[in-house]
């Protein structure tokens, strides 16, 4: 691994100037390295961070990566990592024109990393430095504790996908406001109305009395002295309600780190550092997983826009067209995040330029008028810059994949089904509806299960986890090993409440079809399922399952 030559660096700096002129915004410093394909294979299990801690699973991935490379040699164009300064990796044999294109693409990524709000938790961290210090800590621990360090890493990584990323990012974007339940709120909102169910006139009388006391600038306590004399139970009920309202907002990892008796023991304290490292690393990469389509789309949009307006393309137009098409062509069947993201940014710009994100356009019903509608706002660029700042894949797809987008690019949901007679798999157009398409894309997005600790059930040394029901079962094969890990770190039995589909699905007879022949609306799989509540218990490395 070495830095690119001065000549190549010069090309990069030239690209930066033009990208800035076009409105992209990023730090001055960047680092570009030349790597071999072999380096790439060894880096990729470490999410391209050269200084990430050592772990045997990474080694397994490297070995299988090498096997894969033996069968399918490939030449990746570039990889960028979200560090300060941003680091990117290249092959050493790229011609200059290709480097120009790649650098524009890379600058698109860097701009995205450094401006999209979902990355805000990563902005103030020097990741390579942090990772290096973590790596040193772990190798020091490994020298002391041996293979148990690897178990601690394994068990921590087993729950590193259910970290509370959104809570974390929320604290960065919107500093937390205290939401402590006040006595006054409880008295008027809950106690009088819900518990005592007093009449409206009595309620208003109390408000009047309260307003008087506060006007006389007497302490509010006085007001409540009278309350407690009428309702002696009030204080106790308020205390309980306040307790309840203090919602547990620790994620599973934090909860275990704070409350595990096992980890509190002097001999086991070191495991907390490992959990912390694993948790922080996971949080660091969460934004990247959640903005894949946008990030690639944004970078592709800019390499195209900037390179097409760059005189260095002269003479390489067809070469560029070929490379660009390989990256951003829409496959006939299948999903390409680069292609989808790029087209969607294009579409947003077009819609915004023509002022179609407006009530006027929305109300328009005439197809011909809709097609010709042009409000001539020409604010498309501003709009997409705003979108790259405020959106993640889910909101991006959910808001902007509309019927116009579907029609423009002739998109559809492609289904695959078995034709029993011909013994073939048939690909067919399942739906051209934007709603269906959105749902299909959203189903492919990263969405770890929501699993939290229930403190009220976590008594007598038990850790009680609840999987929030979302019409999705957990992968049962993985439960055992994951829960063995949690049990180990927690130092006691672990319970997990989840829902599973009942074996036999209930299919309602389809009466709608009897009177009016024609295609019935098929119910989705999820709707016709029966669900049952299941509690898994992990105790002494034995997993038991109990239906409820």
């Amino acid at each position: 691994m070495e830095l690119v030559s001065q000549h190549v660096k010069g090309i990069m700096e030239e690209c930066k100037i033009r990208a800035r002129d076009a409105g992209l915004c990023f730090d001055d410093e960047t680092l570009e390295y030349i790597v071999t394909n072999r380096d790439m294979i060894e880096l990729s299990p470490k999410v391209m961070i050269p200084t990430l801690y050592d772990y045997w699973v990474h080694d397994v991935r490297v070995l299988s990566g090498k096997g894969m490379y033996e069968l399918y040699p490939s030449n990746p164009y570039e990889t960028v990592i979200n560090t300060r300064p941003a680091i990117s990796y290249y092959n050493d044999n790229n011609p200059d024109w290709l480097n120009v294109m790649i650098f524009y693409h890379v600058l698109g990524h860097i701009d995205f990393f450094q401006n999209n709000l979902f990355y805000k938790n990563t902005w103030d961290i020097d990741l390579t430095g942090q990772a290096l210090s973590d790596k040193r800590l772990i190798s020091r621990l490994r020298a002391e504790k041996g293979r148990w360090v690897d178990y601690a890493i394994e068990f921590s990584r087993g729950i590193d996908n259910i970290v509370s990323y959104h809570k974390e990012i929320n604290q960065y974007v919107m500093p937390r406001k205290s939401r402590k339940l006040s006595r006054v709120d409880f008295y008027f909102d809950t106690f009088l109305q819900v518990i005592k169910k007093v009449s409206a006139s009595e309620y208003l009388k109390e408000i009047e009395r309260y307003n008087l006391t506060s006007k006389e600038e007497q302490p509010v306590d006085e007001f409540f002295t009278q309350v407690t004399s009428i309702y002696p139970e009030f204080d106790e009920m308020f205390r309980k309600a306040a307790e309840k309202s203090k919602k547990n907002d620790l994620d599973v990892m934090e909860y275990i780190m704070t409350h595990s008796v096992f980890l509190r023991e002097e001999d086991n304290k070191w495991m907390k550092s490992i959990m912390q490292i694993v948790r922080n690393t996971s949080l660091y990469f969460q934004p990247q997983i959640r903005t894949k389509i946008m990030n690639e789309g944004w970078a592709s949009f800019w390499h195209d826009y900037l390179f097409m307006n760059d005189d260095r393309i002269n003479g390489h137009e067809t070469d560029y067209a070929k490379v660009n098409a390989q990256v951003t062509a829409m496959p006939k069947v299948g999903l390409n995040p680069y292609a989808l993201g790029l087209r969607l940014f294009d579409h947003i710009m077009d819609m915004e330029d023509k002022g179609r994100y407006s009530l006027e356009y929305f109300m328009l019903r005439d197809e011909l008028e809709r097609r010709e509608f042009n409000g001539q706002l020409n604010t498309g660029f501003d709009r997409i810059f705003k979108v790259r700042e405020d959106y993640c894949d889910f909101t991006f797809i959910n808001q902007f994949v509309d019927q116009e987008f579907m029609n423009r690019h002739e998109l559809f949901v492609a289904g695959k089904r078995l034709n029993q007679k011909r013994l073939t798999w048939e690909y067919f157009i399942k739906s051209k509806n934007a709603g269906d398409y959105r749902q299909m894309i959203i189903d492919t997005l990263y969405h770890p299960p929501v699993i939290d600790v229930v403190p009220s059930e976590s008594v007598d040394g038990i850790l009680f986890l609840k999987h929030t029901f979302e019409h999705k079962p957990l992968k049962t094969d993985f439960l055992e090993n994951t829960m063995i890990g949690i049990e180990y770190l927690w130092g006691g039995p672990v319970k997990l409440e989840t829902h599973e589909p009942a074996q036999k699905a209930k299919v309602d007879p389809d009466y709608s079809n009897l009177m009016t022949p024609g295609p019935a609306v098929p119910m989705t799989k999820q709707e016709r399922l029966d669900w049952k509540k299941v509690v898994y218990t992990m105790e002494k490395r034995k997993l038991t399952r109990q239906e409820q």
Partner: protein
């Protein structure tokens, strides 16, 4: 960089620490033209986490899922199809039919080399037994040349140990060694005839040869894990035999649903899938036919391994048992592995039932073995299954 051996060592340690093994021996297959696949054996592992699973219903075999698409057409239009049961012919073989056999023939070889390594790993690290009787009686004799014969005075390679022995003998008989406890080598009298050499000579070498039939049920019910388990086991079995027989192993691959067919290579063997019913007898019959037609039982130790989910339309297996009996006249071992679906219930599958009922297992315990495992079996269980099938 850590090696495969170290990884396996570490995995063994896990078991001693009370955790399950996590390393699996995986294989990557790249289909090659004309059946010359390239297979690379690599370790794999899964990091278990809480993740969502797809909802699978029993009746949903016919739905292959959804993805994005682009192009013209109306809803409901079929835009393309691919055969469920790919044909042997026309898979690009036409294009390169003109190329000589020299081209790309390394494919088969590379798998062999890798599989041999795997077989070694399995025999050594997983403690699979070595074959006690390699059935030397059916042998292919050939000559090898080796420095085995000894010759006095002249030759290619001085055998120092034998020479020294000879010199000592000569000197004792000459009375040149007065005190045996104090030998002085510089006083030795050495005759040219005392020098013993090894010379190159022709040796007859007996090599056992094995022919392995792999039979796999590829009917509709064999979806997902059952197939994975069967294929995993067959790869390991093949590798192990390859190691045991010093690479002198030939393989035949047979797939069956209601009909059986032979496929030319491992890639096709493990990747094909159809959605039909199951008749086990079809595969057994085909094996018997092949053996008879090609007179294979004369030259080979024949092994037959069959992997299935135990489903058979022929409930009492009358015909299948008949074919099995025929097989027993020539095989070294039949190993049937039933991988049960988790919903099927223990020991309730047809194949399992009728093989047990037939009494063949008791009558010919050395010729046929049956092993039943769940579809969730891990590598340890699969390897244990191999032990059951081959011991």
């Amino acid at each position: 960089m850590i090696t495969l051996d170290e990884l396996l060592q570490r995995d063994k340690q896990r078991e001693e620490d009370g955790f399950k093994r996590k390393i699996r021996i995986g294989r990557l297959v790249k289909p090659g033209r004309g059946g010359k696949d390239k297979i690379v054996v690599v370790p794999t592992t899964v990091e278990e986490k809480f993740i969502h699973d797809e909802i699978k219903l029993d009746q949903d075999d016919t739905d292959g899922g959804s993805t994005s698409g682009t192009g013209q057409g109306e809803e409901g239009d079929v835009i393309g199809e691919e055969p469920v049961r790919p044909s042997e012919e026309g898979e690009g073989e036409g294009e390169d039919a003109g190329q000589g056999p020299g081209e790309g023939s390394g494919g088969e070889h590379e798998f062999e080399a890798n599989a041999y390594e795997l077989g070694k790993v399995l025999s050594q690290d997983f403690e699979l037994p070595n074959l006690t009787d390699k059935g030397k009686k059916r042998t292919l004799s050939r000559y090898v040349y080796d420095l085995t014969d000894k010759h006095q005075g002249v030759g290619q390679f001085l055998d120092k140990k034998a020479t020294l022995k000879r010199i000592v003998q000569t000197n004792i008989s000459l009375g040149n060694i007065p005190d045996v406890s104090r030998i002085e080598p510089s006083e030795f009298i050495v005759s040219p005839q005392d020098l013993i050499y090894r010379i190159l000579s022709r040796e007859k070498d007996f090599e056992s040869q094995a022919l392995v039939f792999f039979l796999r049920d590829y009917s509709g019910s064999m979806g997902g894990k059952t197939t994975q388990v069967v294929v995993s086991q067959h790869v390991m079995l093949y590798s192990w035999l390859l190691y045991q027989y010093e690479k002198q192993v030939e393989t035949r691959f047979i797939l069956h649903d209601t009909e059986a067919r032979e496929v030319s290579d491992f890639y096709k063997y493990h990747s094909y899938k159809v959605a039909g019913g199951t008749k086990v007898v079809s595969a057994y019959r085909l094996v018997n036919e092949i053996v008879e037609r090609e007179n294979l039982d004369r030259d080979y130790n024949i092994y037959i391994f069959h992997g299935t989910d135990g489903d058979d339309w022929d409930k009492d297996g009358k015909e299948a048992i008949e074919e099995l009996m025929k097989m027993m006249t020539y095989v070294a071992r039949i190993g049937v592995c039933v991988v049960e679906h988790s919903y099927a219930g223990k020991n309730k599958t047809e194949v399992d039932r009728y093989i047990r009922a037939s009494g063949l297992l008791e009558k010919h315990p050395t010729l046929i073995k049956l092993d039943v495992m769940g579809e969730d079996s891990d590598d340890t269980r699969i390897i244990q299954g191999i032990k059951t099938l081959i011991t």
